[in-house]
Amino acid sequence: MSHNVPSESLQGSPRHAFFMEQALLMGEKALETGETPVGCVLVHNNKIVGSGMNDTNKSMNGTRHAEFIAIEEMLQNYPRSILRTTDLYVTVEPCVMCASALRQYQIRAVYYGCGNDRFGGTGSILSLHSDPSIDPSHPTYGGLYHKEAIILLRRFYIQENDKAPKPRPKKHRELKMDFDKELLTYPAT
């Protein structure tokens, strides 16, 4: 059920494009604050009801991914049950943790930018949106603005991580702008 739709056809839809642009803006905000640049928005009846960006560094909690932050924000104003008629737009394929959470929350559909070959839970490593489960399955669509999502991540990973126990010097790294290798390496979303 994971559809890798050519980005043009999804991007051709002004609606999808608009919401993914909002998710990218959240990712941009994450980059500015030293977080892994992954952003997302929850869309219910054409309206953004929650938005999130990764918050694992500031919170010292490795589970504070964009999706959880967005759901938390949504729950301030809406009951959990509206997720059944809500779509998620996220810049990177949800990780195994978030993919399972989205299924438990019974999200209607997931639109994502680039795949996630280290942690991806909706097609790259596991297919938690469609595997047998006690919760209903949902469709996922990848490839919407995937280049922009990848560039965001690359901009983050050329930085040195002074929070790591052993920071690695990355002085000589350059931001690559080519897409010969579509698969990227990045952490979880």
Binding site: N61, N77, R80, I125, P132, S133
Partner: protein, 475 residues
């Protein structure tokens, strides 16, 4: 009730700690592919390898070190002998070389190998023959598999270390951790059960509990003269949390919806997703957040609004209050110097902060080098849901332990149905009646983070309930 009374009343559960196999161990991946074999002059063997490797670079992501580069005449598998062994060729003159994937074109190979062809094997009109065979792409997991492949496919080498490196934890690390966990697991799991009961009785959650232990602190606990009612064992516990899925007040809910009163919440009888809160309210996620709040040095109110829900949680959190100097004064028996860090293995795991701060905090804050849940072990009453499994990996726990009785259809750790000690599958148990996926998420070579996974197998108790026979939910 007083938390220390509860700790005094804890009776250790009796059972065996057993490593959860990985999915790659349970269902070894067997992939096969075509390869070429050519006969070359035995005296030129080393030149053949150089010529092949420089002409056709190997794919680093697919090392073929388990396949022998050459087979002598007597090593050629039975079924290939009629094809490969020519009349007039002798073991003294020729040897067979393997060209493994990624496979170049046959003409390119023949061109590279031409100078090494055995006398009278190739002519201008008929180039050096290449024979197609099948080879295993993954290294063998056992000597039995290696022997079988060597007889039926191509000679392979079994290296006990190589195949396990990614597919399963290194045996010495797994074995050492199991030894250290075995004597204490029963007690921590009994505490987790007590936390779970508290969560259920409060009406704020299901009966699921989590206990987090710092193996570094464990090594410092002096248990040599343990007396009855002694609770020093709990000094290694850094945090506990119960499930809190009914604790969040959602829009449109009344106070009565959130907490119908003391006693189990009526929603535990069924699985109604709208009433399940969310995975961030599961015991594992809650205990991770409690530890994070100490790392962040939050004030009394957590910045994420997920506070302690009961006195047991509060008790362990208060043990890490850096500002509360009274607790160190209250401590009647500080660990004697001679018992500190006698376990050599503990040195590798637990490093004292270099700040020289004499803080007694069990959870080191960020300012003292505390980071996520690195090097901690988590004991759970139930097999965690997939979301929590990945949450514990992302939190960098060292190990996760849960009782086999707590397996769930929605769990993400088990890698296979229950297997009896003699290797036979368990008799038609209830578990098989409810089909489930076996993800073995604690150690997947595909994922960036891994943890050691253990099940606690208790002695046969005929009346003991299996979690899997109850309501299916996400633990």
């Amino acid at each position: 009730m007083d938390a220390e009374d509860v700790l005094r009343g804890i009776t250790s559960r009796v059972g065996e700690v057993t490593a959860i196999r990985t999915v790659q161990e349970t269902r070894p991946l067997e992939e096969f592919s075509d390869a070429y074999v050519a006969e070359v002059n035995v005296k030129t063997a080393s030149k053949v390898i150089k010529a092949l490797d420089s002409a056709f670079p190997r794919d680093a992501s697919q090392p073929m070190n388990h396949l022998r580069r050459f087979a002598k005449h007597n090593q050629v598998p039975e079924h290939l002998r009629p094809v490969l062994l020519r009349e007039g060729s002798s073991p003294a003159q020729t040897i067979f070389v393997l060209i493994s994937p990624p496979l170049p074109g046959t003409e390119a190979i023949q061109k590279v190998l031409a100078p090494f062809a055995p006398d009278n094997a190739a002519t201008e009109d008929a180039p050096l023959p290449l024979h197609t065979i099948r080879i295993p792409l993954q290294p063998p997991m056992t000597t039995v598999q290696a022997d079988a492949w060597s007889k039926t496919m191509w000679p392979v080498v079994f290296n006990p270390a190589a195949p396990r490196a990614m597919v399963a934890p290194p045996p010495h690390i797994l074995g050492r951790a199991r030894e250290l966990i075995q004597p204490k697991a029963g007690r921590y799991l009994a505490l987790a059960q007590r936390v779970a009961e508290e969560a259920e009785q409060s009406g704020l959650g299901r009966g699921v509990g989590a206990v987090v232990v710092d193996p570094g602190l464990e090594a410092e606990v002096d248990e040599t003269e343990e007396t009855e009612g002694d609770i020093r064992w709990a000094d290694a516990v850094v945090a506990v949390a119960g499930d809190g899925r009914y604790s969040r007040r959602e829009v449109g809910m009344t106070e009565a919806d959130v907490q119908p009163g003391r006693g189990p919440n009526p929603n535990i009888q069924t699985y109604n997703p709208d009433r399940e809160g969310g995975p961030e309210l599961h015991a594992l996620m809650r205990v991770v957040e409690l530890i994070s709040s100490k790392r962040r040095e939050d004030g009394p109110v957590s910045s994420t609004g997920r506070p302690c829900l009961n006195y047991l949680e509060t008790y362990f959190m208060s043990q890490s209050n850096v500002t509360a100097t009274s607790e160190s004064l209250d401590d009647p028996s500080p660990v004697p110097e001679k018992y500190q860090k006698t376990e050599t293995a503990a040195h590798a795991i637990h490093q004292e902060p270099e700040t020289g701060d004499a803080s007694t905090s069990r959870i080191r804050p960020r300012s003292q080098g505390g980071y996520l849940c690195t090097d901690l072990d988590v004991y759970l009453t139930h097999e965690p849901c997939i979301c929590c499994c990945m949450g514990l990996l992302l939190s960098r726990f060292r190990a996760v332990i849960f009782p086999r009785r707590g397996r769930m259809v929605s769990g993400g750790l088990a890698s296979e149905p229950v297997v009896q000690p003699d290797g036979a599958p368990a008799e038609a148990s209830e578990e098989e009646a409810k089909p489930r996926e076996y993800y073995g998420l604690h150690w997947r070579k595909e994922l960036n983070w891994r943890a050691l996974g253990f099940e606690f197998v208790e002695e046969e108790q005929p009346d003991a309930k299996l979690a899997v026979d109850g309501v299916a939910f996400h633990a």
